[in-house]
Subunit: 399 residues, 2 copies
């Protein structure tokens, strides 16, 4: 018998308990032993839960119980998730998590601590919910060098953008509806301002490069400004607007950014709609590999956590490549240096006499809309100065 | 130092040797030791190859060399790949392969032999080339129950179907061109008649169910009959024609089939074009997960073989769930019992007085084209009898 604990008994934590029960036979077969949930840490009581008798309110009984081999951390947030995880790892317990914030902020220290104490720290569920992208990067792509990552990493914003595109609606209306339906939070900032996607691209990039970049080195642009007109413009460009987290890796340098992008229909990511996530990974040998699935939700996320539980308790994780993250951002390329192609739309038709300023760098879609590039942010600013007017909308095109 | 051998030094075998050299550092890091190619078995000599001095012409020196820990089998075909693999496994060497034919035909015996001798038999590269679907099914989905698989499993036919759709061309013309370009074999039967896809869906289904179904229990329909008119018809149905290998798994029974299908544009598989493959796996917890990438080719396939090499030599594979395949097809549902929805097209307009026969079961697209269903093959045959005429085209729609 292997004993485990869950800390944070919310949507995902409760899902894990249910999956452990529901898929008991498959899990025992994968682990080679029965798995028993011994403790649940939460501030609340759960008198009606079948696991209500296992609830504790401090981390101590879990840390101090030598029977507990592994803990699922599903608290969310950096604190006290980080402190609890360190305590557990130091006590010789493996920890698996769905908490992208704590991995993005402190993954380096938790991985080092796990290695030092001969246990595992795994976080498959932190990116892409149930999509098995992280283990795949550590195992199947282990002998290759990842050069590029592009992902639709946030289901809430993808749902909003899909509805905006399909219904021609404006952001605010769809957001309000998504909030009513429970698909978006009351304060949607972490989703719509790209903070959630930023954490996830930081984690994926760390897996590819071994370096955990601080969030302030990762450009993140909100998608609040995307309008119904932008959606129509994207269609004119032969694509759709998606919030994309990207990494470009070469020669020890990395460019990292999250922004609404026009994704051409020839790219798989353009067809990933609703709450689904998709992550495209490029290597010299494989070309593009894309992983697609439900990026969030109780059971997909719980399923990914349980896969990590199986990997740890079977002993397989101990034999897999152990990720090492070094903190730091000196190798991050200045965002202003990165050259993009842009869709731009002006409020009014650009007068004939001014068109010459755009002649060499822009392709005209109609009198207000252009595709401009390829250039960096400063060259773009210079262009507007030369033109004497600013576009009302600028969206980078994914190439 | 870990020593390995390659048996069959063709496109993939040569790719493996190149990848071992090119990605030496990443591979050593993943394995925890240097990996050295000691033997190449092939009937030919390779005097100009940097590995020419390692060529042998019989399996014996490899079988008898205690230094060789692992052998990459990239011979293709069932024989002598099967016999060589058994000899190697019995000699205590792990074997990894890209050979779908031998896995589909003899996977049960080779896996049992590997287990008996405490070594690994891995075959990531046998399905989907470089797409890491097999390890993912064995690890990340290990705690879940797979209920459904749908895959574009053959790049050659997907290339042909994509060009037919985009250019409005007929099958024969595109095939001739694909042969000229080296994308299709001189004898394209294994690809276009669904035999290659049949082997791959057999392997994927065995991973999901533990049962290796004989090929004669798996319905496979050719895509040679698909015409430019069918492509236009698929568009009217809101989709595209793709050659799909499918498995439906429930209550210990499995339905397995390969056929050209009309895939609705709302399904990700509809957007997978050219030589790319895509594999969608459904589980109760995850919903659909889709893996997408290059399904064939020297480096994608070699990369998948090398990932297996890393998994074996690091020791990780020994800790992962070891697949067990039992041979047999008693649990396979009779294809005639499976109910589909069909696109059908008649040579001439269906006369008004006959339309009543279709009234309850068909939706009219125009006077020659209908969507019929949902029904099994016998009910469909009865319908044509009742109608007194047969359609010129019948294509199952993916639902």
């Amino acid at each position: 018998m292997k004993y485990i604990a869950i800390i944070g008994f919310g949507v995902v934590g409760g899902g894990i308990a249910a999956v452990l029960e529901e898929n008991k036979a498959a899990i025992s077969a994968a682990v080679g032993d029965a798995v028993e949930l011994k403790y649940i840490l939460d501030l609340r009581e759960f008198p009606d839960s079948p696991w209500g008798d296992r609830v504790v309110h401090t981390i101590d009984p879990i840390v101090n119980d030598p029977d507990v081999a592994l803990v699922c951390e599903t608290m969310g947030g950096s604190h006290p998730a980080f402190e609890y995880t360190m305590q557990l790892l130091e006590a010789g317990k493996s920890v698996v998590t769905s908490n992208k914030e704590v991995v993005a902020n402190f993954g380096d220290r938790m991985l080092a601590c796990a290695a030092e104490h001969g246990v595992n720290y795994l976080f498959e569920a932190s990116v892409g919910g149930g999509i098995p992208v992280i283990r795949s990067m550590l195992t199947s792509l282990a002998g290759d060098n990842i050069s590029r990552i592009d992902g639709i990493l946030n289901g809430t914003t993808n749902y909003i953008l899909t509805r905006m595109r399909d219904e021609g609606s404006d952001y605010a209306d769809v957001l309000a509806d998504a909030q009513k339906l429970g698909y978006a939070e009351k304060d949607p900032s972490a989703d719509v301002d790209g903070i959630d996607a930023q954490r996830k691209i930081i984690i994926l990039t760390a897996l590819a490069t071994g370096k955990l970049v601080p969030a302030d080195k990762v450009y993140a642009e909100t998608m609040r400004t995307i309008s119904a007109e932008d959606m129509a413009g994207a269609k004119k460009c032969g694509g759709a607007v998606k919030l994309i987290g990207s990494a470009r890796i070469s020669d020890g340098e990395v460019a990292l950014f999250v922004a609404p992008r026009i994704v051409p229909d020839t790219c798989q990511l353009s067809h990933i709609d609703d709450v689904y996530n998709g992550i495209s990974v490029t290597t010299p040998l494989l070309g593009d590999v894309l992983y697609y699935g439900r990026g969030a939700g109780r059971f997909p996320t719980a399923s990914a956590v349980v896969a990590d539980v199986c990997a740890v308790l079977s002993g397989a994780a101990m034999k897999e490549k152990r990720p090492v993250f070094a903190a730091g951002g000196d190798h991050v390329v200045d965002f202003d240096e990165i050259r993009f192609t842009y869709y731009v739309r002006f409020a009014d038709a650009v007068p004939m006499e001014k068109l010459s300023a755009l002649a060499d760098v822009a392709e005209k879609l109609d009198e207000k809309e252009f595709v401009v590039g390829k250039m960096g942010r400063r060259a773009l600013a210079d262009l507007w100065e030369k033109l004497g007017t600013m576009p009302v909308s600028i969206i980078r095109i994914l190439e």
